[in-house]
């Protein structure tokens, strides 16, 4: 990761880095709304806009964790609201199995989280982000599965 600076993993002033995959039509707009409405949320989050939460390839999540990201958030439209009608339903199944499998393997629960955030839910977006950061802070810096430099 290029912005190593912001994630100095020194115990005392460590700030987690969260990667958020936001669907273009709802959650990204929700995040945008949070911004334009001047709703504060912590700056630990980096956003990757995706067309749909159904677009999330589980490899994205794993690659993020391997690269040293401390937490991943996947967020899409509420059920029934998908711009592509069923993308988030299909995505939900992938999320469910992926989450269960990672948990089974022993990847700390809370590293990977999921949410529905609509374009009108700026407040919810900031709440979700705060919750994710709170959970990840409890877990501390990611260590499992992070590729070492040596």
């Amino acid at each position: 990761m290029d912005d190593k600076q912001s994630s100095t993993k020194m115990e005392n002033h460590w700030e987690p880095r969260i990667l958020a995959f936001l669907c273009n039509w709802c959650s990204y707009a929700g995040a945008d709304l949070a911004g334009t409405s001047r709703i504060q949320y912590p700056p630990n989050i980096r956003v990757i806009r995706v067309p749909c939460s159904g677009r999330i390839n589980p490899l994205f999540i794993l690659k993020a964790l391997q690269s040293g990201i401390d937490g991943v958030l996947v967020s899409g439209c509420h059920p029934g609201d998908c711009h592509y009608l069923t993308g988030n339903y299909v995505g939900r199944r992938k999320s469910a199995t992926m989450r269960s499998f990672l948990q089974y393997l022993g990847i700390e629960e809370g590293r990977v989280q999921f949410s529905w955030v609509s374009a009108a839910e700026g407040t919810k977006f900031s709440q979700v982000v705060e919750e994710v950061i709170r959970d990840v802070k409890k877990l501390g810096p990611a260590k499992q599965f992070v590729k070492s430099e040596e």
Partner: protein
């Protein structure tokens, strides 16, 4: 009732008979089945093209390979395929993924007696095993200075012990009477054992197991469901993982190899049997299979009309984990 040896002999005769018929009537171009191996406890996949060669086909308790994996490189032929229950379910899963034309396959279904785990047998002896034969429901194991009779049932592959679809659910012909469908031991015992551990212990166990990986990809190649033209590990752009032995890259490979079987794995155990480093792999796919069943009521290959669970949805799917 016939014992295993007698039953195998009868099945073998029928496989040969059917193969000859299919080949002489040109219904198929070739038969993929099992032939005599050169080592005790082993058979080898063979490809039979003429009726005369059909007598090379055999059947016994060592026919462990899932032959469906060979279908991918033979897409231009009409194939007669010898399948056990698990292999047949792989074929069903593959047909969902449109891997072959409707009339391309002729499945010679064998109601399976559960296969003998060669490594389990080998580990029971100090010295090298030089000859093995099946007699009744027992296996006679001979070495340089020993001879011992083992109960076949004590030396089965773990995935065979728990199998409840030994009779192929889909076959064009069954070359034996259907067998009783029940598990010999508790299903998914490995998984349950694993789940009892703490998350840290689980991760450590996973890392220790795959830590022996030599990235030969035998698990991938042996699996009939691993047929991507370009596997994610081989992609250079995007490059998902590096090709060395960094633990993180190896973890990555094994997580994705397994997870990609979500809703597709027949639980045949080919991946684990193929591994030269004896890495435990089926406890991973067991979990995926259990999730498919629990979350989506799906069992790979059990219902030819049920679409693969990750290609469909239900508006009422569980979502309590989503904020």
């Amino acid at each position: 009732m016939l014992n295993t040896e007698e039953r195998s002999k009868a099945i073998q005769a029928k496989i040969r008979e059917k193969a000859k018929e299919l080949l002489s009537s040109k219904k198929v171009d070739l038969i993929i089945g099992f032939g005599e191996g050169t080592l005790p406890l082993r058979t080898t996949p063979i490809f039979v093209r003429t009726p005369e060669e059909a007598d090379r086909l055999i059947w016994n308790s060592f026919c462990e390979n899932n032959l469906a994996t060979y279908l991918h490189k033979l897409s231009q032929f009409k194939i007669g395929l010898v399948v056990k229950g698990c292999d047949a379910r792989s074929v069903v899963a593959l047909s969902h993924e449109k891997r072959f034309k409707p009339d391309q396959l002729f499945l010679i279904g064998v109601p399976c007696q559960r296969m003998v785990d060669r490594r389990r047998v080998e580990k029971a002896f100090e010295g090298e095993i030089l000859h093995v034969s099946e007699q009744g429901d027992e296996i006679i194991v001979e070495g340089e200075d020993f001879e011992k009779t083992l109960k076949r049932e004590d030396f089965l592959y773990p995935c065979c012990q728990v199998c409840i679809h030994r009779t192929p659910l889909k076959a064009d012909v069954l070359v034996g009477d259907p067998v009783e469908e029940s598990s010999l031991v508790k299903v998914h015992a490995d998984m349950e054992e694993f789940e009892k551990k703490s998350p840290e212990e689980r991760w450590r166990y996973f890392e220790k197991e795959v830590g022996r990986c030599i990235r030969c990809y035998a698990c991938r190649e042996a699996c009939p469901m691993c047929y991507c033209t370009e596997c994610f590990v081989d992609s250079s752009n995007p490059k998902w993982i590096d090709k060395g032995l960094s633990p993180s890259d190896i973890d990555f490979y094994h997580i994705v190899r397994a997870y990609h079987q979500s809703g597709r794995c027949s639980g045949c155990g080919a991946c684990e049997r193929a591994c030269p480093m004896e890495i435990r792999l089926t406890y991973l796919t067991q979990k995926l299979n259990q999730d498919a069943k629990e979350l989506f009521g799906f069992e790979t290959g059990a219902d030819p009309d049920a679409p693969p669970p990750l290609s469909t949805y239900d508006t009422d799917d569980r979502q309590e984990f989503i904020k």
